[in-house]
């Protein structure tokens, strides 16, 4: 048990506290560019917390980088779907975008609870449900060994229910991870082409802040899909992923 606890504590250790606090101080001092650097450092140090993405989005927004700020807040929302402050900022930034398109889905409608739960939360709930089911099974087994009688039906039923619940939550968590293919356009405008190479034609133009889904990746290009079904290729450098576990690129920011 001690080894188990040690493993859990070591595994859940986090970092980035200092860089995060430096980012907050820089924001309060009006040093938005410095704040961006600190928040990105906090992310790289392991501080992938909604507050880090919130602060990063705020600093980017105040620096005039609407697309990057939307990407940062989207990442924050996927870590904390019930955070109203990030949602309000995101809504405000989206109103300033030129393209009126719906952001891609973050989960399937069947897993409706994922609109209020992050992948981490549903994963923890899944784990807790499985653990509860197993604890019930262990207790029933010990009683059976001591009494010599068969395992009662009620215990078997509860075990089955908890394990089924854990499996369902686990499936929805897995689905959320699979749906993390969103991206945000971070250049002022970009032409979306029908195919890579000179044979392709320009299909439509997206502007900064447009939220799209990605469905394929080439060496330097990404196949994107709009919520209305249109698809096309764009340069990968024009996009930032909304997956919070990925590195937040700052190459697109001027001066870097």
């Amino acid at each position: 048990v001690s080894g188990w606890l040690l493993w859990v504590m070591l595994g859940c250790s986090s970092g980035g506290q200092e860089a995060f606090e430096a980012g907050i101080q820089a924001t309060r001092g009006g040093e938005q560019r410095g704040a961006v650097e600190h928040f990105v450092q906090a992310l790289e140090d392991g501080g992938r917390h909604p507050a880090t993405y919130h602060g990063l989005g705020n600093a980017l927004y105040r620096s005039g980088h609407i697309g990057e700020s939307i990407a940062a807040w989207r990442r924050g929302m996927s870590l904390a779907p019930r955070n109203g402050d990030i949602a309000a900022n995101l809504e405000r930034a989206q109103r300033q975008c030129l393209d009126s398109i719906e952001p891609p889905q973050t989960h399937r409608p069947a897993f409706f609870w994922q609109s209020a739960l992050s992948a981490r939360e549903s994963g923890l709930l899944s784990s807790a449900a499985l653990a509860a089911g197993l604890v019930i099974a262990v207790v029933a087994r010990i009683r059976r060994t001591r009494s010599g009688r068969k395992q009662p039906r009620r215990a078997a039923g509860w075990t089955a229910v908890m394990i089924a619940l854990g499996a369902l939550l686990g499936a929805s968590t897995w689905d959320v991870l699979q749906q993390r293919n969103g991206a945000v356009v971070v250049v002022s405008q970009v032409a979306v082409r029908s195919t890579l190479g000179p044979e392709g034609v320009d299909l439509f133009v997206l502007h900064e802040g447009a939220q799209v889904g990605t469905s394929d990746q080439a060496q330097r290009h990404t196949l994107i899909a709009l919520s209305d079904g249109r698809k096309g290729w764009v340069s990968s450098s024009a996009l930032i992923s909304t997956d919070p576990s990925r590195k937040f690129p700052l190459d697109s920011l001027p001066g870097r």
């Binding site: 595994g11 859940c12 501080g47 507050a51 705020n58 981490r120 899944s126 807790a128 197993l134 087994r141």
Partner: protein, 549 residues
Amino acid sequence: VILLFLMSLLAHAASLSVEIDQRELVVGQTVPLKIKVIDGSPRGVPEVPVGSGLLLRFQGQSQQHVVSNFQSRRIVQYTYELSATRPGSWFVGPLDILVDGQRLGAAPITIRVGEAPADQGGLPVMGTLTDTAPFLGQVVVFRLQFKRNRPVVGVEWTPPTFDGFVAEKVAEQAQREYSIVENNQNFTVQTIEVPLVAAAVGPNTVPPAVISARYRAQRRRRNARRNTLDDIFGGSSLMGSRAERKTHTTSPIPLNIRPLPQAGRPADFGGLVGRFTLQMKPSARKLKLGESLTLTIVLKGDGTLHGFRLPTVPSDAGFRVYDDAPEITAEVKDRIFLSQAVVKRAVVPEEVGTLTIPGIEIPIFDPETEQYTTVRTESLSIVVEPGEEGAGDVSSFLGEDGDARRAVESLGEDILPVSVPDRLQDSTLMGSLPIIGALPALPLLVWLALVVNGWLDSRKIDPLLVQRRRMMSLPKDPVRRLAILEDVFREVAGLRLGVPAPSLDADAVSSLGEDAQRIYRALERARYGGSSGGLDALAAQVSRFLEGK
């Protein structure tokens, strides 16, 4: 007689009244008009002036005494026939007659005369549309006219489907019934008028409307008593009279709804189609700063006003306005649709001085001239005087104990700041993977251990079972047979006492009971006595001991 004489002494002064059953007629319609002189004796037949669109003919005179509340009254009634000859609004009266040396008068009565029923060319029913080439949004009236000179006991109508039109939301369909005289023959005319709004551009057709009428059956008067009863009950089925059912249909009406022209269309055109007038009237011309005045704005016309809203006032107009919801009314009468919207607008001046409220302008489309035009009101000048101290500011009429707070005014909008957490941690799924995996791992390991332990337990051999097998295959040789019996007894006793079999002695066996002691002693004797016949009985005793019997 004496009583009547006494009552006549109590009679009141003479009075005059004019009675007309209907005040809305159509050309050709005739209604009775009665002039009653109460408690007076006029000289001759009163002369009644009427407008040029009306014709009045004297029919006769009657007189009656009425006793009411112990008062006797003498009523002289003059009956006339009032006929409508021209459409318009006409007066009947005023009356000014001399009664017993006293002049009695009656105010004029307005009679509205509508168009004569359309010529049906001998057909019993006819459907008409006021305009068969209306513009989109224009109101037209569908009229179904049913004319008959036979009495009916019931009429039902099935309206046509008005493709290309929608029903006018405010006005309801109007039904009317009146009598007219044509060629010295009395006719009853029933009309149903439905207001419609043109909604779909293009050619269309109003299909036939259907009227189903049950006429009273014409038959010869053979039974005077029966016919009298028929007259009393109006030929109803109550008395078993017969009715003849006939169905009449109108002709289809082809039409073409025209689109509104694009040329000259004002940018702020709101869709009003028709002829309209606009009026604006203030409740005051002078007020103090902090007070408000009410503008009553009336828009009238022959187009639909459903959903009408006044144009908004710019924020820098020098005054604020608060509009009530428009009160919209509409009616259809004699193929004319009339609608009216009344809006009460509260005006709150913001500065002292002469306030000019600009006129209201509403662009409309006039179907008659087929052009866009604007109806407008004159601008108004209002004198705004200085108010009391603090006038113009928001003031509270509550006492000192009341809640004097007001809502916090927003001056701007911005993004929301970060809520700093106490401890930053990786909130991704990967960051929590150790605990997610470890949480069920511990009970899983315990459960697996229990399962393995149970499996191992299930593989252990039962020592009693081994002894039973040995007892079942005892050898015939007495020495070996005795040795096995002794060994089985010692093993079973050792298992029961929890001690190794070789360490058993008589004292230890005595704790297992008398039977065990007896077997122990019997085995000792057999070992030293060597009796084969006693071995079978001993084997039976050991078997019983083995089974715990």
